[in-house]
Subunit: 448 residues, 2 copies
C-alpha cells in the first residue's frame, strides 16, 4: 500500500505492519469486538510522531483509533478495519515535576501508579486512581475522564488536569490550559478534550495537578449490613456527616462472594452488603470511628477499623474476579448519592423481573454503580443481560442519574446517549465533532 | 421597527424600548464604552422568554448582549448598537435546594450572596465568592467562570457547577451535565459554557454544588512585610505548608493606602505588603498560628490573628476604592504560585521603567494579581497605563501565567489572546463559536 509507505518512511520501525504484531493492538478491555484488523500501529515516541500520523491519516482519510494501555471498558480504543492505531504506550517520559507549584508534566503513556509513586517521593500524590492504576496510562485516564476509588475526596480526572498538548485531526499541535490555578481565556478546551475519548484529537502530553500527601497513617474501615438498602442509606449519612472519607466503596454480597472465590482474603460474605473505605490525615482514626458509628446507627451488624490496605485490595479485585467468571455485561451508571437506597431497591426489583442475578460494586460515595449480570455466555444469554442493563440504566436516569460515571461511552453505550442527552445537546456534540474533525477520521462513530 | 414588534407581542412589557430605560443596560462595570445604544432590553422571566428572544434575534440577525447584574470587568456585557440586551436580573427563583445531595438549582439571576445565605440555613454554603458577591448573579459568575476570595480552598466557579440549562443561538433549549458527581457522557458541555462569556448561548438555569459549612469559628490573620517579594515568598511557603487557608490575599502598601483613604478601618500601611486571610474548621486557630509563624519565618514584621471579618472587608473594598480614585486601568493576570516573588520584582521594574506607580492586590494563594496603574484620566494617560499593563501581562505569560484569572476576556483583553493561545487553539475556539452560533449574533467579536 503506497500511502502507508509514506508514513513508514517517516516513522521507520515505529510503524508496525506485521499482522501478528498488530493484532494485540486491535481491542481494548471491553466486551466489544473490533469489526476488523487495522493496517498498522504507530508506536509514537513523541508529539511529532502523532502529528505525522494524523496529518497522513487526514490526507488519506484513514480512520484512527488511539490507545494507551488498552484498559478501557467501553470499546473506545478498538481498532478500525483498514485503520491505523496510534499507541501512546511508549511515551513514558515525565517531562517536569514542579514541587513548589504541585504540578507534573508528563507524556500521555506514563503509567498512572508510576506518576503517583514519583510524586510521593516529594510528598505529593496524583489523585486519580482507577482500579487499573497499576497498568493504565495518564493519557487514557484523561481521554475517558476516568474515576476511581479516591473520587469521593478528590474529584474525577478532569479536576487534576491543568493543561494539555493535543494533536488535532489534521496534525496540527495545540496547547490548552495553563499551569495557573485560574485561567479564563477563551473556551475551556482542556475540559473539552478531557473525556473526549479520542474523537476530537490525540492528547500527547498533560500538566497535572498534584496534592500533598496527608500526614499520619491512613485507616481503612469496613461495615457489613443485612440489606443493600441499609448500606445505601449509610452512605448518604456518611457523605453528609462530619467525617469525610477519602474512599467509600460498596460491595454487595454476591460481589464479595465472587471476589473471595477468585482470591480469598478472609472476608466474610455479608448478608446484604459491605462498605469499605479509607480515612486520611492526623485524625484518620477518629474519622474512621465516626464513620463506623454512623454505619452502626444505620443498621450495620459488624464493623472493623484497620491500618491495613487489604480491604481496599479486595475491592480492587472485583473486575478481574468478574472477568475470571466470564461475567462481562455490566453498567457504569451514576445517581445522586441520596438516591442510592432507591436505586438498589430498583435494581433488585428489575433483577427479579428479568430472572437474573446481579453483582453490584459501587464507588458509593460518588453514587457510581457497576452492576454485572450473571448470564450464560451465549447470544441469547448476552442479549438477556443487555436487556437488564438497559433497564438499570433507564432506572438511574429516572433518578436524576447518568449512563456513565467513569468508563465513557465508546461503542458499548452509544445507543444509550439519547436516553440522557436531549436533541439539542446531541446536535451540539455533533457540531463540535464536525468542526474539529471535518473528515471524521478520529475514533469515528464512537463516544458521541 | 416591524421586527421588534414581533418580539414585543410575545413579551409584552418585558420588552423595554424607551431609550431612557434602556440606557442603564448598555454597559457593564468595565472601562469599555459601548459603541452605541441598543434597540431594546428583554427582561426575561424564564428560559422560554430567552428562547423567544434568541429565535427572534437569529431570524433577524440582531446582535445580542447578555447581562446579569452588570458587574463584569471586561466589557463582555456591553450592548451593541441596534442590538438587543437580554437581562436575566429578574430570573431570581431558587428552583430546588437538595440538602441530601448538596445541590441547588437556581435561575441565572439569583444573587450570589443570597444563594450562599440560603444554603447556610441548611448548614451548606456556595463556594464561589467574587468580591461583588452581594450584587453579582450566579449566571454572571458562571458565564465568566468567576473567581473570588475562597478559590484557594474551593476552586473557581466551574468547580461548583453540576448542570446547566442553556438557550442556544437559534432559541433551542439544551440541558448539560448531571446532578451526579461523575458523568462522562459525550463532551463536557457544562465546562464549555462555563466561562464562555455569552458567546455560545445564554445560561438560564444552573444546578450548583454546595459544601458543608466547616464547624468552629473562622479566624482571620494578617502579616505585614517590608517588601512585596518577601510576602510573595511567604505565600508560596504557606500554600506548600501543613495548614491550608480558606482565603489568602495580598495587598501592597499603595493599595492599603488607597483603601484606608477611601474608608479607614485602622489598618497600618505596611512598608511593603500585607497578607490577609482566613482559616476555618475546628482547628482554625491552630492553622492561623501555623500560617503566621510561617510569615514571621519569611520576614513578616508584624502579625495578627482575629475572630473579626474586618481584615477581609478591607480587602473587598479594593475595587470601589480604586474606582473612587478614578483608577481603572488594571490587569487580572495569573502566575504559578511559586512565581509570585518573581512577578512582583518584574512588576516593580516595569513600573519604574514606565515611570508609573502601580497598586497591586492579589488572590495570592491562587497566583492571581490585579495590578492597577496610577495615570491621568486623559487619552495620553490611559494609553500610558495600557502600555504598562500590556508589559505586565507579557511578563506573567513569560512566567507560565495567564492573561485572565477570573474576569474573562470580554472586549478589554481581546488583543491579548494571541499572546497566550497558539494559532491552533485560536482556530479551534473560532471553529466552536462558528459551529454553535453560525450567524454570529451572540456577544459577537468578544470573548474569543
Amino acid at each position: 500500500m503506497v500511502e502507508l509507505q509514506d508514513l513508514e518512511s517517516r516513522l521507520g520501525e515505529r510503524l508496525i505492519r506485521d499482522p501478528e504484531l498488530v493484532a494485540p493492538y486491535a481491542r481494548d478491555s471491553s466486551r466489544a469486538e473490533p469489526e476488523g484488523q487495522p493496517l498498522a500501529v504507530v508506536l509514537a515516541r513523541d508529539t511529532e510522531d502523532v502529528a505525522a500520523a494524523l496529518a497522513w491519516a487526514t490526507e488519506h482519510r484513514v480512520p484512527v483509533s488511539v490507545r494507551g494501555a488498552g484498559t478501557g471498558l467501553a470499546g473506545g480504543a478498538n481498532a478500525y478495519p483498514d485503520g491505523v492505531v496510534i499507541s501512546l504506550a511508549n511515551m513514558t517520559e515525565v517531562l517536569q515535576l514542579d514541587v513548589a507549584n504541585r504540578t507534573a508534566t508528563v507524556q500521555a503513556g506514563v503509567i498512572t501508579a508510576e506518576l503517583d509513586a514519583l510524586a510521593r517521593e516529594s510528598g505529593l500524590f496524583f489523585p486519580p486512581d482507577p482500579a487499573s492504576a497499576r497498568t493504565c496510562t495518564v493519557g487514557g485516564n484523561i481521554a475517558t475522564n476516568a474515576g476511581g476509588l479516591r473520587c469521593v475526596a478528590h474529584g474525577v480526572t478532569n479536576d487534576s488536569i491543568a493543561a494539555l498538548v493535543v494533536v488535532l485531526a489534521d496534525g496540527r499541535i495545540m496547547r490548552t490550559g495553563a499551569r495557573t490555578r485560574k485561567n479564563v481565556v477563551g473556551y475551556d478546551l482542556t475540559s473539552l478534550f478531557v473525556g473526549s475519548e479520542g474523537t476530537l484529537g490525540v492528547i500527547t502530553e498533560a500538566t497535572v495537578r498534584l496534592k500533598p500527601v496527608p500526614p499520619g497513617t491512613p485507616r481503612t474501615f469496613r461495615a457489613s449490613f443485612t440489606t443493600l438498602e441499609e448500606a445505601g442509606a449509610a452512605v448518604t449519612a456518611i457523605v453528609n456527616g462530619p467525617a469525610q472519607p477519602e474512599v467509600l466503596e460498596l460491595m454487595d454480597a454476591f460481589s464479595v462472594e465472587i471476589i473471595e472465590s477468585f482470591q480469598p482474603s478472609g472476608l466474610t460474605v455479608p448478608a446484604g452488603a459491605m462498605l469499605v473505605g479509607q480515612t486520611v490525615g492526623l485524625d484518620a482514626a477518629a474519622k474512621a470511628e465516626t464513620i463506623t458509628a454512623i454505619c452502626r446507627a444505620e443498621g450495620a451488624t459488624d464493623t472493623e477499623i484497620s491500618e491495613s490496605d487489604s480491604l481496599l485490595e479486595a475491592r480492587r479485585l472485583s473486575n478481574p474476579a468478574l472477568n475470571a467468571r466470564g461475567l462481562k455485561i455490566s453498567c457504569d451508571v451514576g445517581v445522586p448519592v441520596a438516591a442510592l437506597s432507591e436505586v438498589f431497591q430498583g435494581v433488585a426489583a428489575l433483577a427479579a423481573r428479568h430472572g437474573k442475578r446481579v453483582s453490584t460494586v459501587a464507588h458509593a460515595g460518588d453514587g457510581n454503580l457497576h452492576c454485572t449480570v450473571e448470564s450464560p455466555d451465549s447470544v441469547a444469554g448476552i442479549a438477556e443481560a443487555d436487556a437488564l442493563i438497559d433497564d438499570i440504566t433507564k432506572l438511574a436516569i429516572s433518578l436524576g442519574g447518568t449512563i456513565s460515571g467513569e468508563h465513557g461511552i465508546g461503542s458499548v453505550k452509544r445507543h444509550e446517549l439519547p436516553w440522557q442527552l436531549d436533541d439539542a445537546a446531541l446536535d451540539v456534540q455533533r457540531a463540535i465533532k464536525a468542526a474539529l474533525d471535518p473528515h471524521g477520521i478520529l475514533t469515528p462513530e464512537r463516544g458521541i
